[in-house]
């Protein structure tokens, strides 16, 4: 498949760009932050996303979605990255919808997917337990209890965790905490007794939460996929999340970059535009190169996911690593090249740097993914 967007995908990009510029410009995030909004996103905007078909972008038509692919979801995420639009799109429409669509029973799908597509259900993946992403280490215990399971343990960095109606929880049902076998995914209603949720206010003003499970009881039909066999499903779902985040990173990095190039053309010092100084020109040219490299990897990762999801792990890591590196560089140079203005809260540039920091950490940072690739290649 050629590594370019099709005409339809480009049209989707244009319409997303127009919609987001109007409904969710950066000022929208700023307002939620300044008002210390408890939900952390706008329900009205999320309904709008559902009306546009975005909440159901990856959901099959039989479940009320529009049945598009990962490239389309990535196009939307890239545009959301450009305006830093806060919404449960990643947690719910991309990650949770994929998890349920891939591993769920007929009943799970019928029960949850239509509500996600309609924008009525927010869902969140609870995976990390420590400050660094390490999906190979799952300690939260799910012991057999009555006709189901009893969950005990904690989760952290759960995106949209405090507002989710439904949680997808990776838990240990057998083996030691580092074992690949013995992980099970559970669908847990957020109102189940024993579950405590604490919102963590993050640097990017976007949603995340810590969850504490104390004797949280679920029935056997809460199991997503098969008991003890959750790791391969988790792997696929994480690949999808990583490629999606990589797309968002390219969007956020590119927007910070474009604004910087414009600033270099406007801002005058020493009697000329600072964009005339070669010391700055060469650095922006290098940032441009890195973003272009990331863009290629992201598109390839998204395409691979549509063609052969099981083979997409390595390229998803490449995309996440490169997009994280390139976007971080773009945002750091953006602040620097805006001079004193770059340090002000008034300018949006700082918001881009903050979001990029968080998105590059989520589901594995540059080091995590480079290490993972090195292991795959045997060194």
């Amino acid at each position: 498949m050629p590594l370019v967007l099709s005409d339809e995908q480009q049209m989707l990009r244009e319409s997303a760009r127009g919609y987001l510029a109007e409904q969710a410009p950066v000022a929208h995030l700023r307002k939620l932050r300044d008002e210390r909004d408890d939900t952390g996103f706008s329900r009205a905007l999320w309904r709008g996303f559902a009306e546009m078909g975005w909440a159901g972008v990856l959901i099959a038509e039989e479940f009320g979605g529009v049945g598009l692919g990962h490239v389309e979801a990535g196009v939307l995420l890239e545009e959301m990255g450009r305006t830093l639009a806060p919404s449960p799109f990643l947690s719910t429409a991309v990650v949770a919808a994929s998890a349920i669509g891939l591993a769920g029973s007929a009943q799970h799908k019928a029960q949850h997917l239509p509500r996600i597509a309609a924008g009525e259900l927010v869902a969140a993946l609870a995976i990390d337990e420590g400050a660094k992403h390490k999906p190979s280490r799952i300690a939260l215990a799910a012991a057999r209890h009555a006709n189901g399971f009893r969950l005990n343990g904690t989760k952290t960095f759960v995106i949209d965790g405090h507002v989710a109606d439904l949680l997808i929880v990776a838990a240990r049902t057998a083996g030691g905490i580092e074992d690949k076998q013995g992980v099970t995914l559970f669908l847990v209603d957020a109102k189940t007794p024993g579950l405590a949720r604490e919102r963590t206010i993050m640097v990017d003003s976007r949603n995340a939460a810590r969850l504490a499970f104390e004797n949280v009881d679920v029935t056997a039909d809460a199991v997503l996929g098969e008991v003890d066999e959750g790791a391969p499903w988790l792997e696929r779902v994480l690949s999808i999340g990583r490629a999606g985040l990589a797309a968002e990173l390219v969007g956020a990095g590119s927007e910070a970059f474009d604004r910087t190039v414009s600033y270099l053309k406007e801002r005058r010092q020493f009697g000329r535009a600072i964009g005339e100084f070669q010391a700055l020109q060469h650095r922006v040219a290098q940032v441009y190169d890195d973003l272009e490299m990331a863009r290629s990897a992201v598109l390839k990762a998204l395409q691979t996911m549509d063609e052969n999801l099981d083979g997409a792990g390595p390229i998803a890591s490449v995309a996440k690593a490169k997009a994280g590196q390139a976007a971080k560089l773009a945002s750091q140079e953006a602040v620097q090249m805006h001079g004193g203005m770059g340090m002000t809260d008034e300018l949006d540039i700082g918001l881009f740097m903050k979001r990029i920091r968080v998105a590059q950490e989520l589901f594995g940072d540059v080091q995590f993914h480079a290490d993972r690739l090195a292991r795959m290649r045997g060194y």
Binding site: P2, L3, V4, V261, L264, K265, R272, A273, G275, E276, Q278, Q281, H282, V284, A285, Q286, Y288, D289, E292, M293, A294, R295, S296, A297, L299, K300, I315, V318, A321, K322, Q325, V366, Q367, H369, A370, D371, L373, A374, R375, R377, G378, Y379
Partner: protein, 393 residues
């Protein structure tokens, strides 16, 4: 079975039958490649046979039209051919500036007669070309070149000096930038000439490189007579052709960034530093290699995306600077890492054990990647100015 898959089957069996076993091993050193030419120096019989067979099919230049000696393949078919050659580890049958640089320029700017004369010779490896661009006072600032060509009614009379002319001492013909108008602005008085290096008045002096090789020369022209028909395009319009050719040169140099990516640097390093708990024993080297491989992978995909964008009409000539810059820097990084991984073994300069210092010499040679074909700094200038629209530069 799709047409493409059927084609793949045919290519595979043809290659298996026709590619000599010796040509399925990596070349030993820089000299162990086939450049063709009037007085070709084949390292082996296999090399000669391989060139003849590939040249006959036009598969040295798979995408050129058949009437000019090419293979007439579509881009997809050419990709299949490349993939099948890689699968069998077939070497390129021909290494040639004619293929990388002059050919594409002639296809676009040459007259019908020029295409019919020069392109088939390039495809079959019969004429070896060199590139007469740089001069002692015109390197990055190529357009200030001073070699002059005077109009003498039935011929041009060429006088001047070129430098860094790769393989000028072994080339049969030169594509040369000359000044035909000294009054015009510097970009508007340049013409693009082709001539025989055996013409009276052409002489070359080799220059030694830090890698111990002397692949390039000073090239002198003293009253060289060049037929009028050897002018490509219009007189004083040579700069456009020169730039177009450079975008092709840049893409080929950039492509060095991906050769050998198959053999993991991690494996190479493991031979010297060993493993510790399943991973490379030197964690800092391992980290650098892993980052390099991420970038290498992205670069490979960017080459593909650039080609796909060009095909979809979304391309830009200046994009070759993105690939040239990134690929050249990447290849330098790879050789630095190979030296890091190789340790003192990689520092040997002579002797059979090191294949006469292959690692060290290639490391040194790679430094030229960010100089030849326009330096890295010049590529960044082009990106800043042409792609990002920044002022000045």
């Amino acid at each position: 079975m799709s047409d493409l898959e059927q084609f793949r089957g045919e290519v595979r069996s043809w290659l298996e039958k026709n590619c000599p076993p010796e040509m399925r091993r990596p070349s030993l050193n820089e000299d162990d490649v086939c450049w063709g030419g009037r007085k070709p120096s084949f390292q082996s019989d296999a090399q000669r046979v391989w060139l003849e067979r590939m040249g006959e099919r036009g598969w040295t230049v798979p995408e050129w039209p058949k009437q000019y000696g090419g293979g007439g393949l579509t881009r997809e078919e050419a990709k299949v051919l490349r993939e099948e050659m890689a699968r069998l580890h077939c070497r390129a049958a021909l290494t040639s500036f004619g293929i990388w640089m002059l050919g594409p320029a002639l296809l676009k700017y040459g007259s019908e007669a020029q295409k019919r004369k020069y392109l088939p010779e390039i495809a079959r490896g019969e004429i070896r070309w060199c590139q007469g661009y740089s001069e002692p006072n015109a390197g990055s600032d190529l357009a200030s070149l001073q070699t002059k060509a005077e109009d003498k009614a039935d011929h041009f009379l060429v006088n001047g000096q070129k430098i860094w002319t790769s393989y000028a001492d072994r080339a049969d013909w030169i594509f040369c930038l000359v000044r035909t108008d000294f009054a015009a602005k510097k970009h508007e008085g340049i013409s693009f000439l082709l001539f025989d290096m055996a013409s009276p008045g052409v002489s070359t002096t080799p220059i030694s490189l830090i890698s111990g090789k002397s692949p390039f020369c000073q090239t002198f022209f003293h009253d060289v007579k060049v037929p009028k028909g050897n002018l490509v395009g219009e007189r004083n319009k040579g700069w456009e052709i020169a730039k177009y050719l450079l975008t092709h040169e840049r893409e080929s140099i950039g492509a060095f960034g991906i050769t050998q990516i198959g053999r993991s640097l991690g494996e190479l390093a493991a031979e010297t530093v060993g493993h510790d708990d399943g991973v490379l024993a030197d964690p800092l080297l391992r980290a650098k290699i892993a980052e390099f491989e991420v970038d290498g992978w992205c670069f490979l995909l960017s080459m593909q995306r650039a080609a796909d964008m060009a095909k979809a009409g979304q391309g830009s000539g200046a994009y070759s600077s993105v690939l040239k810059y990134y690929g050249a820097e990447l290849n330098k990084r790879r050789h630095e890492l190979m030296m890091d991984g190789g340790g003192s073994d990689a520092l040997e300069w002579e002797g059979a054990r090191s294949h006469d210092g292959k690692a060290a010499r290639e490391w040194l040679r790679s430094k030229a990647n960010s100089i030849e074909g326009g330096t890295s700094e010049i590529q960044l200038n082009i990106i800043a100015k042409r792609l990002l629209g920044l002022p000045g530069a």
